[in-house]
């Protein structure tokens, strides 16, 4: 079966600018990244700060142009597409960021926020939009009564639900969660992780879960890719990566997760 997303030899370089605006050399954020993601599966990309995880997310979402390499979505190379075709392809891949407070317009109501992508893409007629918005909000566990609230009137977890509803509005095939759980409380992380786990089979969604939290990566993902200095240095099933990490970076990430990992108590049940 053809993978839904196929990334090969992906390179992204940035030109570093000096104080006077001149070039101070090249920063290689991605240095030959290759992987595939099948329909309905979850791949976690883990790594330390600065390892290139977020640049990878931006390239796949079509928000950054890769320097070299290819990104195939349903067999079509994003680099070869013109502006119109790219515009048609972009809704297939949606991105949810770490801080929903920063990624949602504070002056929009929940309803406007979820309706905006529908409006921009113009695929859903105006009279059908309120119904679609209600369905999307329900889908992420927000009641219709909350539709006229602004982001400031939601809790952190509810804002992240709203960001997911907005991402799902265009019926994507790939959902990229870029540290989307990292800023949330543990109990809220669990709620959002469950929401993703429940939505995935229902919507046949593939997920790219970008995080430095190996614990949550092991829980949510089928496979884990470990990044370091713009490369994937280790990749395998979640069990294999967590139980027998091979690369030094993976070992230090596993050690950090274990050292701080008191066994969740079963008392009281």
């Amino acid at each position: 079966m053809e993978p839904l997303l196929s990334v090969a030899g992906l390179v992204k370089q940035y030109v570093r600018t000096g104080p006077a605006g001149g070039s101070r050399g090249i920063l290689t954020a991605l240095d030959g990244v290759t992987f595939t993601l099948a329909a309905g599966r979850t791949l976690a990309v883990v790594g330390r700060s600065g390892s290139g995880k977020s640049t990878l997310a931006l390239c796949i979402a079509g928000l950054e142009r890769p320097t070299a390499g290819s990104i195939l979505v349903e067999g079509r190379d994003m680099a070869s597409l013109g502006a119109t075709e790219l515009r048609a392809l972009r809704p297939r891949i949606q991105l949810v960021f770490q801080d929903p407070a920063a990624s949602l317009n504070p002056r929009f109501t929940a309803e406007q926020l979820v309706a905006e992508p529908l409006q921009v893409q113009g695929r859903v007629p105006a009279r059908e939009r309120p119904g679609r918005v209600r369905l999307l909000m329900e889908c992420v566990g927000l009641s219709a009564a909350m539709r006229s609230r602004t982001p400031g009137e939601f809790s952190g977890g509810q804002r992240q639900r709203l960001a997911i509803a907005r991402a799902l509005a265009l019926e994507p095939r790939v959902l990229i969660l870029d540290e989307a759980l990292s800023a949330l409380d543990c109990s809220v992380q669990a709620q959002i992780a469950n929401l993703v786990a429940e939505l995935q089979p229902a919507l046949r969604l593939s997920c790219l879960f970008i995080t430095h939290d190996l614990r949550m990566a092991g829980w949510l993902a089928d496979e884990i890719a470990v990044m370091e200095r713009g490369r994937i240095v280790e990749m395998g099933s979640s069990e294999a990566v967590v139980e027998s990490p091979q690369h030094g970076v993976t070992q230090s990430l596993v050690a950090a997760a274990r050292a701080r990992g008191a066994a969740p108590p079963q008392a009281g049940r």
């Binding site: 669990a190 709620q191 430095h212 614990r215 092991g218 069990e239 701080r260 990992g261």
Partner: protein, 325 residues
């Protein structure tokens, strides 16, 4: 060992012209022993950041301390004037914030910023330079000179957080209060910062109050853990007891939310356990246990009045009617 800080019956509220008065802390009491690491565990809205700020009278407006005392070396800090407080902040008790990028001046070299703290406490120039070099060496070893001459943007998040720690310990305080000091860092850097705190405690006998929303951070690190829920102490005791055998229904539910480190996909449950509902917004007229609406073990008296903190055994106390209350 004796207590170096004693907080008694602390009450804090925020006034809002639209939403009225919101209670952030409702009668919080605890003490910090010399050289101990006390973890304060609380989720968003539990009042943990209000607590950190109140301890040094740095509560931002419209926050108000309604009552209680914070006693340090025999003095109630809440009753001191601004002049006296300035002598205590940094010199006796230091505060470390979550976001090192915001806490550092972007256009000053970090060595100068460490010296600045010493200048504020009246050290002469030569001693300032010497002291700054000494604390930077303690945190950066042989790299200290290079770091000292760098600007914040040239450093990594972990390095910036170490500069903040250098500033915090420069005047030789006996207590550090750190509010989510590792929230902006990746998990490996986070472990490094925790190791630095552990070393400072060993070498300088510094006490640390570490405020966090992440229970995993405290396991194997804190000596004692205090669990804050909706502005009240739900449970407090030795870290081993609170984290491995929690007694308050909230602590139990919170710790169950953490995914296990090891996954066996064929045997595990499909979903993580969650705590139903949201944390409450507290008003002055609230009655009953604050966790009651979300508690799976609620009883009749829970909604009628608030349970008192009751000691079970070995300095492990819980505020829940299951244990008397």
């Amino acid at each position: 060992m004796g207590s170096i800080l004693a907080v008694r019956d602390l009450h804090v509220a925020y006034d809002s012209p639209t939403a009225g008065e919101t209670i952030a802390l409702a009668g919080v009491s605890f003490s910090v022993e010399a050289g101990e690491i006390l973890g304060i565990l609380g989720e968003s809205g539990s009042g943990k950041s209000s607590l950190a700020a109140s301890l040094l009278c740095l509560l931002p407006s419209p926050g108000r301390i309604l009552g209680g005392s914070v006693v340090f070396q025999g003095k109630n800090l809440l009753a001191l004037g601004e002049e006296e407080l300035r002598g205590i902040r940094g010199a006796c008790i230091s505060l470390i914030f979550q976001e090192p990028t915001l806490a550092l001046h972007p256009t000053l070299r970090v060595g100068r910023q460490v010296e600045e703290v010493l200048r504020a406490h009246g050290l002469p120039a030569a001693a300032r330079r010497q002291n700054a070099e000494r604390v930077l060496a303690a945190l950066f070893g042989t790299e200290a000179a290079r770091i000292s001459g760098s600007y914040p943007h040239q450093l990594s998040g972990g390095q910036r957080q170490r500069v903040l720690i250098a500033q915090a310990i420069a005047c030789g305080p006996s207590l550090l209060i750190a509010d989510e000091p590792t929230a902006a860092l990746d998990s490996v850097t986070e472990a490094e910062i925790l190791e630095i705190f552990a070393r400072l405690r060993r070498e300088l006998h510094l006490a640390l109050v570490l405020i966090t929303h992440n229970p995993a951070l405290l396991a194997g690190f804190a000596d004692r853990v205090l669990v804050l829920y909706a502005g009240q102490v739900a449970e407090v005791g030795p870290a081993g007891a609170v984290l491995a055998a929690p007694q308050h229904p909230y602590t139990q539910a919170l710790l169950r939310c953490l995914p296990p480190v090891l996954t066996r996909r064929e045997t595990r449950k499909p979903l993580l356990p969650v705590i139903p509902g949201d944390a409450p917004r507290m008003t002055a007229d609230a009655v009953g246990c604050r966790f009651e609406p979300r508690c799976t073990e609620r009883m009749e008296q829970c909604a009628a009045r608030s349970p008192l903190l009751t000691e079970l055994a070995g300095a492990h106390s819980v505020s829940c009617f299951k244990f008397g209350g």
